[in-house]
């Protein structure tokens, strides 16, 4: 009898231990990255920690969110304050030293071109504020917010969120990998003068798209065109988890030169990210170029503005001119997603 009780206790203890260990494993696996941090990530983590060190404890509590905070993860938009309220802390509430540290972090995450585009869009929003500001909609340089999901780390995944009017950047950092999906870019005005210089934050992208479209034959354009007018973003804010069905002309129907033009167009967006992580993404995109589609909605070279979309197994790019703000090309929204890896879900277990 005693032996039986002893055996039963042993079995019960074993079961409890096994369950406990699997629970612990599940917890630790939930936040473990697939590849160890490389030099780029280490630089980004150091810059993030340097920024956090400039903050007061009150500011830190506003800017740091739990890694598991699903609501905060998806709380991003292109809309101005007044219609959409962001969390975190805004540039307008930061000291000059804090702003410098934040911009140093952005420089570490993004490429030279990407960082330039970010600052130009912010400057553009300030220009817009000086001409159309006021009222119930609040925008301008002071209204760009930063927040973090998880704590900056070389070993656990975390997300840097930076955004304001016409911008929502979500950079997931997971060990060696940094991804920028989903992110929204755009701007108004897309052409302005600052300190005597003409600034055009998104000109590279629209030029690349027009160049590709112009390179297509009439028959190819017919395949690419899915509508006669520009349309809004399909997978903008709030549309996570949806995978667009490919439309337009397929990469395998393009000549080698046209494929190169398509890659150039994709690179204008993917290349916002630092060179090393952008190269990883571009390699994946090149491997899938035959299964990449290019679609166009609007006139061709008529100046009225056109929507375009690139769809690939691991990529969705959208570009949407907006009908307000003078000409349609002076106000645009763009979306960059990876239907398989938004928020870097593939990069951690």
């Amino acid at each position: 009898m005693k032996k039986r009780i002893w055996l039963a206790s042993l079995a019960l203890t074993g079961a409890l231990l096994t369950a406990g260990i699997s629970q612990i494993q599940a917890y630790s696996l939930a936040s473990s990255v697939k590849a160890p941090a490389d030099a780029t990530t280490q630089k980004v983590v150091a810059a993030a920690n340097a920024f956090l060190q400039t903050l007061s404890s009150t500011q830190k509590s506003k800017v740091l969110f739990e890694w598991s905070d699903a609501a905060q993860k998806t709380k991003w938009s292109n809309l101005p304050i007044g219609i959409f309220q962001r969390n975190g802390i805004k540039l307008g509430d930061m000291s000059s030293a804090q702003q410098t540290a934040l911009f140093a972090l952005l420089q570490a995450v993004f490429s030279k071109n990407g960082y330039q585009q970010i600052t130009q869009v912010i400057d553009g929003d300030e220009v817009l504020k000086s001409t159309d500001g006021g009222g119930r909609l609040i925008f301008g340089k002071a209204e760009y917010y930063v927040s973090f999901l998880g704590t900056p780390s070389n070993t656990s995944p975390w997300i840097l969120q930076f955004g304001g009017h016409h911008m929502a950047l979500n950079a997931t950092v997971a060990g060696a990998d940094i991804v920028l999906t989903p992110s929204l870019t755009g701007g108004q005005p897309t052409t302005y003068t600052l300190n005597g210089k003409t600034v055009q934050p998104i000109i590279g992208e629209s030029n690349a798209a027009n160049k590709l479209m112009s390179s297509l034959s009439a028959a190819q354009q017919k395949q690419a065109i899915i509508g006669s007018k520009f349309i809004d973003l399909v997978l903008g804010p709030g549309q996570d988890g949806k995978t667009l069905q490919p439309e337009g002309i397929k990469g395998s129907s393009l000549s080698a030169t046209q494929q190169e033009l398509l890659l150039n167009l994709i690179e204008t967006r993917v290349g916002m990210l630092n060179d090393e992580d952008a190269a990883v993404k571009m390699k994946e995109i090149k491997a899938n170029i035959a299964n990449t589609y290019f679609a166009w909605s609007g006139g061709v070279n008529d100046g009225a503005g056109a929507y375009f979309r690139v769809t690939a197994p691991t990529l969705v790019l959208e570009f949407s001119p907006q009908s307000m703000g003078g000409s349609a090309s002076n106000h645009t929204h763009s979306m960059y997603r990876d239907p398989t890896n938004d928020y870097g879900v593939k990069l951690y277990k």
Partner: protein
């Protein structure tokens, strides 16, 4: 003077940088297919210039909240979905309503999700029509699939994207197994035969006719 003021205000509103078209109700339809079900997520976002008119056309309760049932009913009356030429009855499954102030500012998004049961075969076509237009509207229609068993063959939209036609294929493995009609016919015939044989035997017994197997063998056999 009033006219000048109104023009200045209109100019300001048109130039203000909100997220989408200020002068229309954007109606984005996200249609998701599975072999047996279709779901239509309709996102309604009124621009600032039409938000007041749009709200004026909605039924609002004493609590100042939008009557979602009334809105869903109106939308359903103006929306059509056919699969393989058969109308698909739709019902409201869920909704999300932003705060009234958000809608008034232009940018608040009302989300209605409708679902319907469909019968798919290996080759199918659905036609979606959205004629809901309480105010000037801009339309988007896109299709999504819920499983690898559904493949989109082609998509066609009219100029305004109010009509959206999609040809799609469903893998044989995902189709409901249909009992062949001719097997059923044979089964019915078999049962009928068995039943009538029993009745025939009974009649023979009653009339004294010996059953076939009990008849005397012919002589010389």
């Amino acid at each position: 003077m009033k006219l000048i003021r109104a023009l200045v205000l209109l100019g300001w509103l048109l130039s203000v940088a909100v997220a989408h078209s200020a002068d229309m109700l954007v109606q984005a339809a996200y249609i998701t297919l599975s072999p047996e079900q279709v779901s239509i997520e309709l996102d309604l976002t009124a621009g600032e210039l039409v938000a007041k008119d749009f709200l004026g056309k909605l039924e609002v309760g004493q609590d100042q909240n939008i009557s979602i049932q009334a809105l869903a009913k109106t939308v359903l009356e103006k929306m059509q979905l056919t699969v393989n030429n058969q109308p698909v009855p739709l019902r409201l499954e869920s909704e999300q309503i932003p705060e009234m102030t958000q809608i008034k500012l232009g940018g608040g998004q009302i989300q209605l999700v409708f679902v319907g049961t469909i019968k798919s075969s290996s080759q199918n076509q659905f036609v979606f029509k959205n004629n809901y237009a309480p105010v000037k509207s801009g339309y988007l229609a896109n299709v999504f699939v819920q499983s690898s068993e559904v493949k989109i063959a082609s998509q066609q939209r009219d100029q305004t994207q109010q009509t959206f036609e999609v040809n799609y294929e469903v893998a044989e493995s995902a189709l409901p197994r249909v009992f062949p009609w001719w097997l059923g016919l044979i089964a019915v015939f078999g049962v009928g035969l068995w039943f009538s044989r029993g009745r025939l035997e009974k009649k023979r017994n009653e009339s004294g006719t010996p059953p076939r197997f009990a008849r005397p063998l012919k002589e010389g056999f």
